[in-house]
């Protein structure tokens, strides 16, 4: 069960920006900067962060869709950051991707059945005569009717398109599935359908799932372990229960308190931790802790020196000078859950 499937160590993705002024040095965008985590077989790791946190770039780097500047991405013992050509193509069978946008991720000129069949054909999986039966099976597994195979993507709703995306990703029977905001482009009422489907398929098939989202509540629903990213770095990593019971990093605490909830309502809003400003840009980030400029409890040392990601207590990793053992420097506002007066 707790066999490690994916190990990411010190993963960095830097982009050089095009110079507008030739006299200035090239600006370096540190989209992902030294990210490390591990994912066990059959478990779900949720990566949560705001825009610009680098969470999507992490996913794309693992899939080799963007060049890796340095660091390692291992599936069991194979470092896929170094693979090229045919070896890389063979490796792709083991990890698949579900895209955020159900509209642009399906080729508009190809029928749904052929889209799901493509991975089987391209990677030459199974006998050609059995592939159609496999496609039928996949359609049923994701809740589509097999006769819908002959339809074109534009004839499906957003939720159904995301099901096609999931069926395509499951076709080569991957061991690792990476979902990048799979529901954020969908209507609220459709999200639950897709989340339930993903969770069920993940459990039934024992797939490792890297679930990327900006939505804390969705991550809480999906993940076994949570990693919070801020400006290209992981600032906190913890098992789900421990994290949502008490987050340690000031950013995690603030992010959690910013989410409006049905039960919390106005009381929650009134007690919210207020972060000022927008996240600074990953171009030339501040020298010390990257969250220091917005952190309500930052001290001088936070601005001077970048904290390391360290194990604050068993299984809980935090990148903050001020966390000591498992005491959070920034206290979460008292829970505004249902047990308080209504």
């Amino acid at each position: 069960m707790s066999q490690t499937l994916l190990t990411v160590s010190d993963l960095s993705v830097h982009f050089a920006r095009r110079r507008l002024n030739p006299l200035k040095p090239r600006e370096l965008v540190r989209a992902v900067d030294g990210v490390s985590f591990a994912l066990s077989r059959g478990t779900v790791l949720g990566i949560v962060g705001e825009s610009g946190s680098g969470k999507t770039t992490v996913a794309r780097a693992i899939l080799r869709l963007v060049p890796i500047t340095y660091g390692h991405v291992r599936i069991e013992d194979i470092d896929i950051a170094r693979l090229q050509g045919e070896e890389l193509r063979c490796m792709r069978r083991r990890l698949q991707y579900v895209f955020q946008d159900p509209y642009s991720s399906l080729n508009p000129r190809v029928r749904a059945g052929a889209i799901v069949r493509a991975p089987l054909d391209v990677m030459d999986i199974g006998a050609p005569s059995q592939r159609e039966a496999r496609v039928v099976e996949l359609f049923e597994a994701v809740g589509l009717r097999p006769e819908q195979r002959s339809l074109f993507p534009h004839q499906f709703s957003g939720g159904q398109r995301q099901r096609i995306n999931i069926a395509r990703a499951l076709a080569p029977e991957p061991e690792l599935l990476i979902c990048d905001e799979p529901v954020s482009a969908l209507d609220v009422a459709i999200r639950a359908q897709i989340l339930n489907l993903l969770r069920r398929l993940q459990r039934e098939r024992g797939i490792g799932l890297l679930f990327i989202s900006h939505d804390m509540a969705v991550v809480r629903h999906m993940a076994d372990e949570v990693a919070v990213m801020y400006l290209g770095q992981i600032v906190e990593r913890a098992p789900r229960k421990a994290f949502f019971a008490r987050a340690l990093h000031p950013y995690s605490v603030a992010l959690l308190s910013a989410v409006p909830t049905v039960r919390g309502g106005r009381r929650r809003a009134a007690r919210r931790i207020r972060l000022t400003g927008d996240p600074p840009s990953p171009i030339d980030p501040p020298p010390g802790c990257r969250f220091a400029p917005r952190c309500p409890v930052a001290e001088a040392r936070c601005r001077a020196r970048m904290p390391e990601l360290r194990e604050a207590s068993a299984g809980r990793w935090v990148r903050c000078h001020l966390v000591c053992a498992d005491r959070a420097p920034l206290q979460a506002p008292p829970s505004a859950a249902a047990h308080s007066e209504t």
């Binding site: 609220v188 509540a217 789900r240 229960k241 309502g265 929650r268 207020r274 927008d278």
Partner: protein
Amino acid sequence: MTTERPPLLQIDGLSVDFEGGGRRARVLNGVSLKVGAGETLGIVGESGCGKSMTAVAILRLIPSPPGRIAAGRILFGGEDLTRVSDARIRDVRGHRIAMIFQEPMTSLNPVLTVGDQIGEVLIRHLRLGPKAARERSLRLLEAVGIPAPEQRIDVYPHQLSGGMRQRVMIAAAIACEPSLLIADEPTTALDVTVQAQIFDLLRELQSKTGMGLILITHDMGAIAEMADRVAVMYAGRIVEEGATQSILDAPQHPYTRGLVACVPDLDAADGDAEAPLAEIAGVVPSVWELRSGCPFADRCPEVIDVCRHEMPQRTSVTPAHHVACWCRGGPAA
């Protein structure tokens, strides 16, 4: 919450038709709403339910053709906005009723500086001179929490972050001190920490100026945080309407209950996080394919025979809580 004073805005039985290709679709069907001064009305529903159409109809911005207001009244400041002249409605827009949109990048003019965008409104509606307009713009930028407004006033929208652009939009919207602000998914494109800032700002402005606010969103959490009253829309109709607390604590319409239950909640007990989410099966029907009967019938877990043939009337659960459902209504439910 709303007292006996006449409401700021009152919509009665508003219906909007779209025609195209020889077919006609009723995109809004008998919508009745009211908003009081200083009050926040939330409108929720999935996309395609008519939330934005309602907002656009209030300002008479429905593209025509193919759209047309088929029936109903929109009473604002003693006038019926469906009947006033084009010149009059232009004066109301942006001056007495302002609107902000989901995507601040596309709703700001990319070739005008921030100061010009806000100044334009002031010059047009309040007949201020350029100098006074700039002075006032600076104060507005300050009021919406833009740091260093003297520098920001001369930048172009693309030089600002999403949150800053939305603040500029709000500054332009409140420039003429409107008595009603319509915010259509104002924070959907923004991060949660920035959303919290925008909500704070809207609340603060509202308490200062006493303007009414219509907040259109799909997020029940945002409704819980912002709205005094909620209207739940489905397929162009209001299916449930009432005080926020009452609706969130005891949703009556199966659609409302679905909307509340299908979103994972951070405040739920930890055990609940493991259980599958409640689902609303199917998708919103296209307005071109609506048949008689309740439009939600095909997706409704509690559907009975009559739902498929006849549209339920609006009934009162409490004097301030109304629902249109055959299985609900009446104090007994």
